[in-house]
Amino acid sequence: MYFAWLRERLGSSSERVAMPLDVSDVAGVVTWLRTRGPAFAAAFVPENRIRCAVNQEFARPDQPVHANDEVAFFPPLTGG
């Protein structure tokens, strides 16, 4: 799932994907996403400070990701 400008820039709010077998954590998902085209490669860079949630809980890069997990990426929060 993608939110805010990330959703707009990737042209997708959610997708169901089959990940390579060697992807086991959030950092791995990001590395794999960056290979999916220029929009992904440009969006997932450190200066964009993209945040992640796995199954609706904030997740760090080393958080494990399993089959059927819901993984969400989004820009820093600006509510309130």
Binding site: A4, W5, A72, L77, G79, G80
Partner: protein
């Protein structure tokens, strides 16, 4: 004891306070914060959120505040969708027997709501242009104080 809501409609502060304290005589003070849409320079805001995760995050923030201070209840309401300058975006209420707990919890709740509930703001200017609001480092610093 916490009321947590994400809604498109405007909130009504008096009604929410009345609901929070209904039938109670042990409340000594209610702290409250209303965030409003600011800006002569913008025509509107549009608020996006992550349904499901938002409510979970808000409930977790409320539970943390209730654990830290002896609250008799708290209310967190955050609006989504399109809002114009002057409108309320977010409402925080914290009721306690004593005023200091109510006020401290109010500050805590709004600081954490800003930094750990998944909402994003898009600004629309009068000329029709729009852009996503950038996060402020000051908000993270405010939440880290607690």
């Amino acid at each position: 004891m916490a009321t947590v809501r994400v809604q498109a409609e405007a909130f009504e502060v008096s009604a929410e306070m009345a609901a929070l304290t209904a039938g109670r005589v042990d409340v000594g003070g209610i702290g409250c914060f209303v965030g409003t849409v600011r800006g002569a320079d913008i025509a509107a805001l549009e608020l996006e959120h992550f349904p499901g995760m938002t409510e979970r995050a808000m409930a977790a923030i409320a539970a943390e505040a209730e654990a830290r201070w002896s609250l008799l209840g708290c209310t967190l309401i955050h609006r989504v969708g399109r809002l114009v300058p002057g409108e309320g975006i977010v409402l925080v209420l914290a009721a306690s027997a004593h005023r200091q707990a109510a006020l401290d919890a109010t500050g805590y709740l709004i600081d954490w709501l800003k930094t750990s509930a998944p909402f994003w703001k898009k600004e629309f200017r009068a000329d029709g242009s729009h852009s996503w609001v950038a996060a402020r480092d000051a908000d993270d610093a405010a939440a880290a104080r607690w």
